[in-house]
């Protein structure tokens, strides 16, 4: 379960950053992204997939979250 730091890039894209793994990728898609549900499976720019826990509301970004590698 790597700790993932989420931040918004200047162009508005979400960046998925894992310091330990040296991984800095854009998030291309996220399973749930609505005012009452956020998280689930995300697909990164390099095609790899991770999953966040599903939250009741979109979190305030920047933020560090745990993600599971799929």
């Amino acid at each position: 379960m790597p700790s993932v730091m989420l931040r918004k890039r200047e162009d508005g894209k979400l960046i998925f950053y894992v310091a330990k793994k040296d991984l800095e990728e854009t998030i291309e898609s996220i399973e749930f992204d609505s005012p009452d549900k956020w998280g689930g499976e995300v697909v990164l720019g390099d095609g790899s997939k991770y999953a966040f826990e599903i939250l009741d509301a979109p979190p305030k970004i920047p933020l560090t979250l745990q993600a599971k590698r799929l």
Binding site: R7, P62, T64
Partner: protein, 493 residues
């Protein structure tokens, strides 16, 4: 020599790899690449931040070097104890040329070496007592110090000393910050992990010191300069530009910096990152914890400076934006004169670089401003994200080499025949003896600053005096110089 095509460069890499045994070849092949600027991501073409191969010549440092030498060392009003045997600190003492103002030994300690000088006894019985004693001694001898950091060398981790406990106790006694840093040299694959550990130590032991204390008067124009180590005065040359455009520089991390500045950084409005590699961690942390945005900028060469000033100004109001334009306009005549003078002497010259944190990509623009071309570049300890940022800056089909070995670098130079090499002291004399003009690009070869408009003028002059130095014509022994001999004979006859 004409530029090499993609095929030629690929063939060169293959040829150089030929001498390695099968396994080493496979490993090194991943670290050498031909640049393809159309790629978005560097991990498609190059691997980085891996353990160096045993048996090859690498110029990497250790985690202690990254923490003590790079991040903590320049904080001038703290005393940084090189905790362990004397050598690690003594052989790296004052080598980085981080300039500072202050009276050394009284209120600034940058070029001094403090060490616990471990002996066999300390290894066997532990060094915690000795460490507490040193800190008391420091308080007596150097009462104006503003804090202490304990920079662990290899043995500390091996014998399992509890430096955190000693630090906490000492901090209570002196009332000043005492920061234990677990940067033993064996951690990680290069100095890069040392930067990270040092950032984490600042985060855990310093950054929160003034949380909840609002006595510091802030303005909407407060910024911090992060990752400028004031090599030869770089941070000063950068700072003037920012101040001229109307910003207030609250903190310098860490060249000519103080612990008070670091503690105040969470109050700024924007963090400006110059050396991304060594300090992006803390910027990311401050973004998350204090909602301070950060941006990367580049103060090498007028093109990049103007770009960066505008990029920074765009995040502020019109007053700052007008300020940025005013600064650019004010220096235009100055840098145009520099270019007019040196470009004719440097135009078309080809450069190969092999350096550390930010320079393999950041200085490219400065060379291009002088009409020069960078045909090969590489990082000692870069990560993927560094190469991501590099492939766009470099021309197509140029060479990229990660953690290059002594042998590879020499072979590349022999074939590519650059007019100038910019790298470190360990490479300097080899290439000078091969007859290739060389600049030491870690400490600016005892020159500098190179940042900012003022720095650019010095940069241009230095490159000119190196490349166009008459000595390069006399490298070959006169009797080996067939052409010269023939001409001399003709003259006699």
């Amino acid at each position: 020599m004409a530029a090499m095509t993609r095929e030629e460069t690929e063939a060169l890499i293959q040829e150089v790899l030929e001498v390695y045994p099968e396994k080493a070849k496979k490993d090194r092949a991943k670290h050498l690449a031909v640049n393809d600027s159309s790629l978005e991501k560097a991990n498609k073409c190059i691997t980085s931040n891996r353990k160096s191969l045993p048996g090859v010549m690498t110029v990497r440092g250790c985690a202690y070097a990254g923490s003590k030498g790079v991040v903590w060392g320049p904080i001038k009003d703290m005393i940084h104890i090189s905790h362990g045997p004397v050598g690690c600190g003594q052989y790296s003492r004052a080598g980085r040329r981080n300039y500072y103002v202050g009276t050394t030994g009284v209120n600034a300690f940058g070029t001094m070496n403090f060490t616990s000088d471990f002996k066999e006894n300390d290894i066997v019985f532990g060094g915690d007592k000795k460490l507490s004693k040193i800190m008391l001694e420091i308080e007596q001898l150097f009462p104006l110090n503003k804090g202490i950091s304990i920079q662990s060398e290899c043995p500390i981790g091996l014998i399992g000393d509890d430096i955190e406990a000693v630090a906490k106790k000492a901090a209570k006694e002196t009332g000043k910050p005492v920061v234990p840093v677990r940067c033993e040299g064996f951690r990680g694959v290069s100095q890069s992990l040392g930067h990270h550990i040092a950032n984490d130590a600042i985060r855990d032991w310093v950054l929160e010191n003034r949380d909840g204390d609002d006595s510091f008067q802030t303005t909407p124009y407060d910024v911090a300069v992060i990752g400028d180590y004031n090599i030869g005065g770089d941070a000063w040359a950068s700072r003037t530009l920012l101040e001229e455009m109307g910003l207030r520089v609250v903190a310098q991390w860490s060249g000519d910096g103080t612990i008070a500045e670091i503690e105040k950084t969470p109050k700024v409005k924007l963090n400006l990152i110059h050396c991304y590699r060594s300090m992006n961690y803390i910027a990311r942390h401050m973004e998350e914890k204090y909602s301070i945005p950060w941006i990367e900028y580049n103060f090498f060469g007028p093109t990049k400076i103007a770009e960066s000033l505008r990029k920074i100004a765009a995040l502020f109001d019109e007053k700052i934006q007008a300020g940025a334009e005013r600064v650019i306009a004010r220096y235009t005549a100055e840098y145009e004169a520099v270019i007019a003078k040196y470009k004719p002497r440097l135009e078309g010259k080809r450069v190969m670089l092999y350096i550390g944190g930010l320079r393999p990509r950041h200085v490219i623009g400065a060379y291009e401003d002088l009409g020069m071309e960078v045909v090969g570049t590489g990082y000692e300890f870069g990560h993927n994200d560094d190469y991501d940022r590099t492939i766009k800056e470099m021309g197509n089909a140029t060479l990229l080499y990660d953690d290059v070995t002594g042998y590879e670098f020499e072979e590349f130079v022999k074939r590519v025949q650059p007019d100038l090499i910019g790298s470190g002291i360990k490479e300097k004399y080899i290439f000078q003896k091969m007859g290739v003009p060389f600049r030491q690009m870690h400490s600016w070869d005892y020159s500098g600053p190179y940042h900012g408009y003022d720095g650019f003028a010095i940069f241009a002059r230095d490159m000119d005096m190196t490349i166009n130095n008459p000595c390069w014509k006399n490298i070959k022994a006169p009797w080996k110089n067939q052409v010269a001999n023939d001409e001399a004979l003709k003259a006699v006859a």
